[in-house]
Symmetry: C2
Subunit: 131 residues, 2 copies
């Protein structure tokens, strides 16, 4: 069993339920091809510890992913990305990213930032996330 170094970004104060954040990230990783069939996710206990949440919360996320056919839960081994889980078409992935970027940009405008300022922030974040 290959222990994945994968870590989920959980922002507890973001207002989005924890389990939902996990689900969303796994879905994105699979859609983007960074998780492929046969890959294992970090265990319920690992994620719970790393993110400092209850294991059952993580299990809930994984349960939803299983219902969606993204992963298969293998007792004793862990969560395995399904054979049927394929990366998404580019257009779809674009659309999903757009739906995250657009509100963020809109909020930046509400905050009174100019296009130029928003652009600078964007480029900085893009660079930061390159690691």
């Amino acid at each position: 069993m290959d222990t994945s170094p994968l870590q989920f970004d959980i922002a507890p104060s973001s207002g989005v339920p924890i389990y939902r954040q996990i689900v969303d990230q796994v879905v994105a990783l699979v859609a983007g091809g960074r998780l492929t069939p046969g890959d294992f996710l970090p265990s319920v206990r690992q994620v719970a510890q790393t993110a400092d949440v209850n294991p059952m919360t993580v299990s809930k996320a994984y349960g939803l992913l299983e219902s969606d056919g993204v992963v298969e839960r293998i007792r004793g081994q862990g969560m395995c990305v399904s054979a049927t889980a394929t990366s998404g078409p580019l257009a779809e992935r674009r659309e999903q990213a757009q739906q995250l970027l657009a509100p963020a940009i809109h909020r930046a405008r509400l905050l009174g930032l100019t296009d130029k300022q928003i652009r600078a922030l964007f480029e900085a974040s893009l660079k930061d996330s390159a690691k």
Copy 2:
């Protein structure tokens, strides 16, 4: 009483509680200087109708804003931006926008998009939000 054409963007499926979305947007509008002391927010009933949520939910958001000193609730008139509510320093506003942009960009990467693709999406969204 000046009826504000202001409308809140409420994304029910985003996972962020509705009242929280309202609060965040008002805070951003004030920080960005687009709402200034003496301005009135749309009424509880207006927002509830527009967003198709219960008035008490909106009232909750407004109540939190009042507790934070952002608005004053004037019975019979509506919600008025407080005299003490001032736009935030640029650095703070930048920081806030960054905290929204960074996760969105990170997710875009998880989705397997290249920098170039992310940039194109960003520019498109920036243009769209210019209206």
